[in-house]
Symmetry: C2
Subunit: 126 residues, 2 copies
DNA sequence: GTGACACCTGGAGCGCGCTCCAGGTCAAGG
DNA sequence: CCTTGACCTGGAGCGCGCTCCAGGTGTCAC
């Protein structure tokens, strides 16, 4: 008998708001959520792990529509593993490019900061 | 006599759309844009350089409201340099943290990808 | 002069990802 | 019993950053 988690517990452990969890359920990013007699959601440990995956995808900038495709594929079981692998691989490459872009712009930022520091040093001095 | 640039030229060289340029002017991110006799915008080389700065800030995730504060400060001349330095420094630190976060999540992504590859290899084999 | 074209203005609309709200149910504590 | 609090539902609303639109003007090639 696996322990179930209340909405409040999932909010705390996943870092998603209750509204976001409900939203994710509505759009199909979460499914198979049980209900207590009184209609309250009962999450499983698997849901919590899946939320970890969603967080990873979300925080790396995957659009929700694509997460939905991934979720849909995950419902297909082992038959659709290749598809999921392809989705993740493509995403990982985008993340890689995004990081490279950020680093390049960060360099510009640092140059500008160095320039400002220099200006201020010169000004103080005169 | 510095050459001026037409809207189309600025679109091409800055990578911002014409609508975005107009929007940026409206909200005060761009100012001092000249006009031709017929009312068409005439950008200067300085505007183009400033757009490069805006692109850097935007692409590293600075919210527009904060870019506006930076632009406002830039209008203050050398008197407000320290303020701009502080803004950029704080932003650069956020970018640094963001990159670190992305890399961490990218690692999770890669682990998951490796796991899928392994599963698929095992399946093929059996 | 007649298109085509680049541009103008003010203002409405959009896509995303939530977030909030009204009105209600159930369970436990005092 | 009555309140408090966690949760439910369907649906409206929001903040951001643009993007699009209608209706108009000036310039140039034919």
């Amino acid at each position: 008998m696996t322990q179930t988690l209340s909405p409040a517990q999932v909010v705390e452990r996943s870092g998603f708001s209750l509204d976001t969890l409900r939203y994710y359920e509505r759009i199909g990013l979460l499914d198979g959520i049980g209900r207590s007699a009184s209609g309250h959601r009962r999450f499983s440990q698997d849901h919590l792990e899946w939320l970890g995956v969603l967080r990873c995808l979300r925080d790396t900038g995957m659009p929700i529509a694509e997460m939905c495709r991934y979720a849909e594929s995950a419902r297909g079981g082992s038959r659709t593993m290749a598809e999921r692998l392809a989705l993740l691989t493509a995403h990982e490459e985008r993340v890689e490019r995004h990081i490279a872009e950020l680093r390049a712009q960060q360099d510009h930022l640092r140059e500008k900061i160095a320039w400002y520091r220099e200006q201020l040093a010169d000004t103080d001095q005169s």
